[in-house]
Symmetry: C2
Subunit: 257 residues, 2 copies
């Protein structure tokens, strides 16, 4: 029986810029009497990766432009937050009261360009910080994977996930915004179903499905479980690893922007 198990890594401390995340993961696994396996997928919440990388902006330091102020009126948000969103975006996709969907600089289309103010520790001076998405989630995932290999001798697949809202459907789901060591898209074109009919729409985004599965165990209201291990998932062995950028639909093939 091909069972898949997911479990959170217990006891991960609050992460600060520069913390050795991979070493912390390996150490906490040891406390759980567990070891990484080559087939494991390590899913890490974007927020802790952004913190490790210092992708933080002090809200009080932001001086909003006239453009940000005007857009803030439209979407009914803090103009300083809107300025940070604009600074980290390539394009605004939709703006409406309460809604600001942007294509952020790494190419992810999501609410507020992924900029988040929750769970970002106030500094000793009481300042409030915003967290931005990693500059390059795939590079972040590759680096963490290499650090895990150094710390444990094993290089699992790594996924960085975030919670994104979607058109048409209520609620957020976990999605992949960075990966290393796995093929995010399982292209099944050319495969045949049980009756020999060649499959049509047969690209399955397994990286997003793994990211969503891990989100179930992370919760959103605390940082107690920002890392989830998925073990026993048999990834398509014939597919070479690829970056999560390959999940980004090109504008020319996207009917919804």
């Amino acid at each position: 029986m091909s069972a898949v198990e997911l479990f959170p890594i217990e006891g991960i401390p609050l992460i600060k810029p520069g913390d050795p995340l991979a070493a912390i993961i390996v150490k906490q696994l040891e406390h759980m009497n567990k070891r990484l396996q080559p087939d494991d997928v390590v899913v890490i919440a974007q927020k802790v990766v952004s913190k490790v990388e210092g992708r933080l902006v002090a809200l009080a330091s932001v001086d909003p432009s006239d453009e940000a102020k005007a857009l803030a009126e439209v979407v009914d948000k803090d103009s300083r937050i809107v300025q940070v969103i604009l600074d980290d975006s390539r394009a605004i996709i939709r703006s409406r009261r309460g809604l600001l969907v942007a294509e952020q600089q790494a190419g992810w289309i999501c609410a507020n360009a992924g900029v988040d103010r929750s769970n970002v520790q106030q500094g000793d001076d009481g300042e409030e910080y915003l967290a931005l998405l990693p500059v390059d989630g795939d590079a972040s995932a590759e680096r963490i994977r290499e650090e895990l290999r150094v710390a444990s001798g094993v290089a699992p697949a790594v996924i960085i996930n975030d919670s994104h809202g979607r058109p048409w459907r209520v609620g957020t789901v976990g999605v992949c915004i960075g990966c290393a060591g796995l093929a995010p898209i399982w292209n099944q074109r050319g495969l045949h179903d049980l009756f020999g009919y060649e499959l049509h729409s047969s690209e399955e985004c397994i990286a997003d499905e793994l990211a969503a599965a891990a989100s179930l165990l992370m919760g959103q209201s605390n940082e107690g479980q920002p890392v989830v291990i998925i073990s026993g998932y048999q990834r398509p062995a014939h597919l070479p690893p690829a970056p999560s950028r390959s999940i980004q639909r090109t504008a020319a093939t996207d009917a919804f922007r």
Copy 2:
């Protein structure tokens, strides 16, 4: 440690209209020396539910209208299939060469209104059939849940999942198109994060995340594993069960149709 396990039910035979799906699930679980638990989530692929319910249309029986023929030209599809899509839809959301996104009659917005020709057994006469989505996936899930209760004495949560493409991102992911016995949306508004900041965009669609997780084990190129059990997932206990219809974003709150 709060681990979650997913496993497919082995040996489910090819499903035909009228087959006792719940009894088959319970019997195959017994063969695996397993029993349903009240906290389990039983995820069932839409295709087998549609087959049990006879939601099949013989392709040769379809006489396409002028409207279907014109739209088939635009999207470059078989006009008979387009007719079946139109017949099961409330509205066409986007039509382009190779792409037909519809709001199907139960309210799900997806490619081809969810109409699928793969994995639908040709009849004894060699006819080819299309499978439509269930008329009411929530009612289907409720019925299967009740049948599972009768067959096993235990009423787990039930999710019917399908693979849908998304704007902005390549590839399909499993989503929920019917559920019973669980709250599909975990509304975390009013919860506070570690630093006391009230969470903003805090509705998590756990039904879609469970559906996506199960998809990982189902594959798409065969029907060998159309039922997956998720055990150990601690659902938010304070939320009352609700239908999957509550996942459907209203047109007024949707910036992308």
